[in-house]
C-alpha cells in the first residue's frame, strides 16, 4: 500500500497530473515509431506516397504488404536462423560457463586467481576487438558463411562466468559439505544442487544473451555474405537495401515481422525481462 502523503490534495493532484503529462509525451515519442510502422504496414502505396499525417489508413492493405514482404525476402528463414544461432550460442555458453563459474566460486585449484583476473579483463573486451583475427582464422579454414562462424566468438561468455560466480558464491558452504559427506561428486553437486538454486540468474542471463545475439549486426555482417545464413538484423539490412520498389508499406511490414518475436516475448515475460536487466545491468 502506498501511504497517503501530505500536503494538501490539490498539490498532490497537480503533481500527479504533471507527472502523467510528462510521461505521456515521452511515451508517445517512444511508441511513435512502432505505431507508425504498424500503420504504414497496412497502408496502400499511393496513400504512403502522398505523405499525409492521417493516422487511420483509408484502405486496408495489410495482406498485400505482408505477403509482398514475405515473398521479396526469406524473412521466416532469417527468423529460423536467429533461433538456431541464439539457441546454439546460449546452450554452449551455459555448458562452458556454469562449471567454470562454480569452480571459481567454490573450489580451490591452481591458477584460480589468474583465471579470474582474465575473466574480469575479458569483461572490458567487446566483440569488435577480437573480430579481425577471428575473421582471418575463419577465412583461413574456409569456415565463413556458416552457423559456426556466427556462433564461435560467443561460445565463451566471460560475463556469464562472472555473473554465475557471484551467484554461486552466495550458496551456503554447509550444504556443499553435507553433499560431499553424503558421497556426491562435484559434478553431481553442481548439477543437482547448485544449478537448480541459481535458476533465476540463469534465466536472467539467458534473456540477456538472446536479446543481445538476436539483435547483433556487427559480427554477422562480417562473416556472412549469403542470405541463407543471415540472422534477422542482417536479413533486414539486405531487405532494406534490396529493390522493395520504394514501397515503404512492404518495408514496414518486413520490419514488423522482424521485430515481432522479441517484442512479443517481452510483452509476455515483462517481469523476467526487467529482472534480467537489473541483475545483469550490462548491455
Amino acid at each position: 500500500m502506498k501511504a497517503a502523503r501530505f500536503p494538501l490534495p490539490t498539490g498532490r493532484l497537480l503533481r500527479f497530473a504533471g507527472a502523467h503529462a510528462v510521461l505521456l509525451v515521452g511515451a508517445a515519442f517512444m511508441l511513435l515509431p512502432f505505431i507508425w510502422m504498424l500503420l504504414t504496414a497496412i497502408r496502400a502505396p499511393d496513400e504512403i506516397l502522398t505523405g499525409g499525417l492521417n493516422p487511420i489508413p483509408r484502405s486496408f492493405h495489410a495482406v498485400e504488404n505482408f505477403s509482398a514482404a514475405l515473398q521479396q525476402a526469406p524473412l521466416l528463414r532469417f527468423m529460423v536462423n536467429g533461433v538456431i544461432i541464439c539457441g546454439g550460442i546460449l546452450i554452449i555458453q551455459l555448458i562452458v560457463a556454469i562449471p567454470a563459474a562454480y569452480a571459481l566460486a567454490k573450489l580451490r585449484f591452481p591458477g584460480r586467481g589468474l583465471l579470474f583476473a582474465a575473466v574480469i579483463g575479458g569483461l572490458c573486451i567487446p566483440i569488435q576487438v577480437p573480430a579481425l583475427p577471428i575473421y582471418l582464422a575463419l577465412a583461413e579454414f574456409g569456415l565463413l558463411d556458416s552457423y559456426f562462424a556466427m556462433m564461435v566468438p560467443f561460445f565463451l561468455s566471460v560475463f556469464a562466468i562472472f555473473l554465475f560466480r557471484q551467484t554461486f558464491r552466495g550458496f551456503p558452504d554447509e550444504i556443499l559439505q553435507a553433499a560431499r559427506v553424503d558421497g556426491l561428486g562435484e559434478f553431481e553437486i553442481l548439477w543437482r544442487i547448485v544449478v537448480p538454486s541459481a535458476l533465476p540468474a540463469i534465466a536472467a542471463f539467458s534473456i540477456f544473451s538472446i536479446v543481445a545475439h538476436w539483435n547483433d549486426l556487427y559480427w554477422p555482417m562480417i562473416v556472412i555474405q549469403r542470405m541463407d545464413y543471415a540472422p534477422p538484423p542482417l536479413g533486414m539490412l539486405f531487405f532494406a537495401n534490396s529493390e522493395t520498389g520504394a514501397s515503404y508499406g512492404v518495408l514496414m511490414a518486413g520490419a514488423t515481422i522482424i521485430t515481432a518475436p522479441l517484442v512479443l516475448v517481452f510483452l509476455l515475460a515483462r517481469r523476467r525481462f526487467v529482472q534480467g536487466i537489473t541483475m545483469t545491468g550490462i548491455k
Partner: protein, 305 residues
C-alpha cells in the same frame, strides 16, 4: 585430515583426500572455458596487437613491419579524425541525455502505482526491438517528403529538415535515435536503484522538514542513487561509443556520419587493410579499457554504510 581419520569408522575409505579431489574437479571444470578464453580472446588479442604494427593486407605479397606507423597514419588521417570526432560528439550528446532522461523517467514512473506497468512497457519497448528494423522505420519517419516528422514540421510552419542527408544533422539525428533506444534501459536500472532506497530515509526527511520534492531529491534520492548513476553513466558511454547499427542502416558512414566502429569495419572488412584496421581497433580498445578502469575505480570508493 579429519576426513581420513573418521572415514574407517563409517566403513568407507575415500580414494583421494579432499584437496586433491577439489583440485582435480576445479581444473576439469575450467578446461573448456580456459581453452575458449585462449582461442577467442587472448590469442586474437595478441594477434591484433601484432597486426596493428604491420601493413598486412589480404592478398598482399609480403608483410612489412611498421612499428607505430599505423597509429601515426591514423592521427593524420582526416577520415579517422572525423570518425573520432563524430563518435565523441555522439557520446557527448547521448551520455547526458541518456542519464538525465533515464533518471527523470524513472523518478516519475517510480511514483506511479496503477499505470506503472504501462509506462515500463512503453519506455522499454525500444530496447527489445531489433534496432536495425527500427532504424529502417526511423528512416521512413524522417523521410523529407513521406515521413510524418517532416509532415508535422511543415504543418507547424517550419521548413523541411533533411535529417538523414544534411551532414551537420546526421550525428544529432543518430543521437536522438540512440537515446530512443537507450532511455528505457537506463530507466530500469534507475528504478532498481530507487527501489533499494530505504523508506526510513524518506520518513526521516519528512520529519526533519525536508519533505518537499526538491528537498527529498537532494537529501535522500540523489545521494542514494550516486552509485547507480555512476554505473549508468559508464554503461551509457560504452554503448554510445559503440554506435554502429544505425549508421549501417541509415547512412552507411557517408559524409558527416563517420564513426569509429564503422571506420574499423570499412578498413578491415571492406578494404581489407587489416593492419590499419587493427591499429584503429587498438585505439577503440584503449577507450573501452579507460571506461572500465574508471568504473572500477568509482565502484571502489562508493558505499556509505
Amino acid at each position: 585430515m579429519t576426513t581420513l581419520a573418521l572415514a574407517p569408522a563409517v566403513g568407507r575409505v575415500p580414494r583421494r583426500s579432499r584437496p586433491v579431489r577439489e583440485w582435480l574437479a576445479g581444473t576439469l571444470f575450467v578446461v573448456p572455458a580456459t581453452m575458449l578464453l585462449l582461442a577467442i580472446i587472448l590469442a586474437p588479442l595478441l594477434c591484433l596487437l601484432i597486426l596493428s604494427l604491420t601493413d598486412y593486407e589480404i592478398g598482399a605479397m609480403q608483410i612489412r613491419w611498421l612499428g607505430l606507423g599505423n597509429f601515426e597514419k591514423a592521427l593524420s588521417d582526416p577520415v579517422f579524425r572525423r570518425a573520432m570526432g563524430n563518435t565523441l560528439l555522439y557520446v557527448a550528446l547521448v551520455l547526458p541525455g541518456g542519464v538525465i532522461l533515464g533518471l527523470l523517467v524513472a523518478l516519475l514512473v517510480h511514483g506511479r502505482t496503477r499505470s506503472r506497468a504501462f509506462y515500463e512497457v512503453a519506455y522499454f519497448l525500444p530496447v527489445t526491438a531489433t534496432l536495425i528494423a527500427m532504424a529502417a522505420v526511423w528512416q521512413f519517419l524522417l523521410h523529407p517528403k513521406l515521413g510524418p516528422v517532416n509532415g508535422l514540421l511543415k504543418a507547424a510552419g517550419f521548413p523541411e529538415m533533411a535529417f538523414i542527408s544534411e551532414p551537420s544533422l546526421l550525428i544529432p539525428t543518430l543521437a536522438v535515435i540512440g537515446l530512443w533506444n537507450l532511455i528505457g534501459f537506463n530507466m530500469i536500472l534507475f528504478l532498481a536503484g530507487l527501489t533499494a532506497i530505504p523508506r526510513d530515509l524518506y520518513d526521516a526527511a519528512e520529519i526533519d522538514g525536508a519533505g518537499g520534492p526538491i528537498d527529498r531529491f537532494l537529501t535522500v534520492t540523489w545521494p542514494q542513487l550516486a552509485p547507480t548513476t555512476m554505473f549508468v553513466a559508464v554503461t551509457t558511454s560504452i554503448t554510445a561509443f559503440k554506435v554502429f547499427d544505425t549508421v549501417a542502416v541509415l547512412t552507411r558512414g557517408r559524409d558527416g556520419s563517420e564513426v569509429l566502429l564503422y571506420a574499423i569495419y570499412l578498413e578491415g572488412f571492406q578494404y581489407f587493410k587489416i593492419g590499419y584496421s587493427a591499429a584503429l581497433t587498438v585505439i577503440f580498445l584503449a577507450f573501452m579499457l579507460a571506461f572500465s578502469v574508471f568504473q572500477a575505480f568509482q565502484l571502489d570508493r562508493r558505499v556509505h554504510y
